[in-house]
Symmetry: none
Subunit: 204 residues, 4 copies
């Protein structure tokens, strides 16, 4: 039982340190210490500091995407899927604060070079929402005048801004669940087509 996989140990340590300090203020040596390995060991598993962040994204964001895909498929109805997305997203944030913090910050700030690698899984994540919206439009539940590419960003942005607040503030005035419900509710009623509004079973 040699110890848990070292690659994982380092990723986990990096999440912690990146969350605390941000990528640029994180020291490789601190990640090493956090992971209980020597500095040099990091470089047996990662090409360089950038590569730690990139790998972290590919692997962890990948898991997140897969997980979310399963979550929303538990719902039949596109509008319910949006609600489920909101709840799952914020629940992930609540459970994995540090990881969420890293995702939230680094998706935005990393250098142009890294963005290329980092955005791939992120776009996939966004496109989960896009698919749901298209599905809803085809089913007549969602207004057809709304551009899915705009809406996916609106929905994600609303949730993400909320989670950023939640993650950073120590106060946590609003419970995450409550936020998820309010936000998804507004989007559902805002995007719902005229006819769906008549037939849709209350409450959203």
């Amino acid at each position: 039982m040699k110890e848990e996989n070292k690659h994982q140990k380092i990723i986990k340590a990096a999440v912690k340190v990146f969350a605390e300090k941000g990528f640029y203020n994180a020291r490789v040596s601190e990640i090493a210490k956090e992971a209980n390995v020597a500095d040099g060991t990091i470089y047996l598993y990662f090409k360089n500091k950038d590569d730690i962040l990139i790998s972290l994204f590919e692997e962890e964001f990948g898991k997140l995407v897969e997980n979310m895909r399963k979550e929303i498929n538990k719902e039949k109805d596109a509008l319910q899927k949006i609600k489920r997305f909101a709840v799952s997203h914020l629940s992930f944030v609540a459970k994995q604060q540090q990881l969420a913090e890293v995702f939230g910050v680094e998706v935005r700030q990393s250098s142009k070079f890294m963005k290329e690698y980092i955005n791939k899984p992120f776009i996939e994540y966004l496109n989960l929402i896009r698919s749901v919206i298209i599905e809803g439009q085809e089913a007549g539940l969602i207004r057809k005048d709304l551009t899915p590419g705009i809406m996916k960003r609106a929905v994600f942005g609303a949730l993400d801004e909320m989670s950023r607040y939640w993650v950073l503030s120590s106060k946590k005035k609003h419970s995450v669940d409550e936020a998820a419900l309010q936000i998804s509710d507004v989007f559902i009623w805002g995007m719902m087509s005229e006819e769906a509004r008549k037939n849709y079973p209350w409450p959203a």
Copy 2:
């Protein structure tokens, strides 16, 4: 007038360089070159590199807040104010891409220390939305079950994510105006109270 205020010149240069490289990859010497001053001159006007970003925020974000306050006050109705906010916000992004990019990225990534200074004007900006929502709730236009503190973040987040896309992507598939309208429309219909929905003059 050639000898424009040097403080301003440096801020302007910093906006450009921060937008291009991000704060951590920006070199003070590059800002100096862009501003046509010597490296040392920067330190006559700013305490250090952090201080450039902080000042930039305080001053430029301050202007933005003031401007937005005027903009939304051109509308009487809270729902229209929200639409105006969306349009003005994205129009600012379109006109001042670099500044918007700096705002968008650095609000999130800057070190905990700086965040304190940077968040102040940002919170003010968010609270413009909050006030509008409260105003709308008091006027019976907006559902009272929605928490203004959540909704301000939802609205801002939706717009911000959109603008981030717009700023970074070179494709610009969706016109900013179109995005502003769709997003505000969804929020308006989503947040509108039952009774307002009956009386509210079409279109939103």
Copy 3:
């Protein structure tokens, strides 16, 4: 009188440190200390450690070539020029031990990449001998069956090996002058054409 040119100061310090430790065992920080500048200052004048060595070669070896060109032109006769070359070469070695040591060692060992830059002035130096030999052959003083490209290396190699011994050994059994005379004498008599041997004024 701000202090002597810093570029020169660093080169001079590098010669000393490279001579003592060799390029690979030389520490940039030691060169800096020897030159009485900060570590970072080195990088204002040189791209990197390699560049110090390359510049050193280009500049100092360049001077050496020019100097030697003048020296041998003081003689009319190709055979005398060879003697003059030998004497001047070893006299340079004696006067500039450290520089000679760096030249001698690094011409050979530097990485293939640097060799490109380092060999240029070295080849020029070798070709001074080549020209003299060709000149001697044309004047009928030197055997025509000898390939100048081979002989230039033989003459240089003989002197260089001698100087290496002289520079490294602390004993210095043989005076440099004596060595220069013996070596050039052997080459002169060995390369001299049959007819020159009859007419050539004694001693060589």
Copy 4:
């Protein structure tokens, strides 16, 4: 016989890697890979990286000395021995390029500490020439005014510079044999005593 002595396997691999990269740019792990052993195995056979080079010298240069001793003893006459030395030396270089490259470079560049060990066999090699010269002087074939300690270096240096060129250049304009003959010829005629010159059977 597959399981060749591992010590030998490592030396052989080191020759290849040192020749390609030079001692300082050679990686122990690369030698290990080339030798098909684990990194750690190297340290079962050698104290450290330095020790690989030192052993390599002692063993391989030792062989070279022995071999050369036999070669020159095939000739009776000191002048012929010099020719034989030249031809054998360059023929060795041609046949064992990599080893020659390592010898040529590392004799010069290795750190002062290693030089001690490395020079021993090298001095022995040089002294083969010295003995021949003394023998020639005693036999009246070689001028008595020449210092054997100088001449041994001149002869070796001339050949070595030639071989360095031959090993490094890809062009190989001059055949090695031709070079050996020209160089030894010049030395023979240059060192030959007056009286030998009258009686010595042509051609040299």
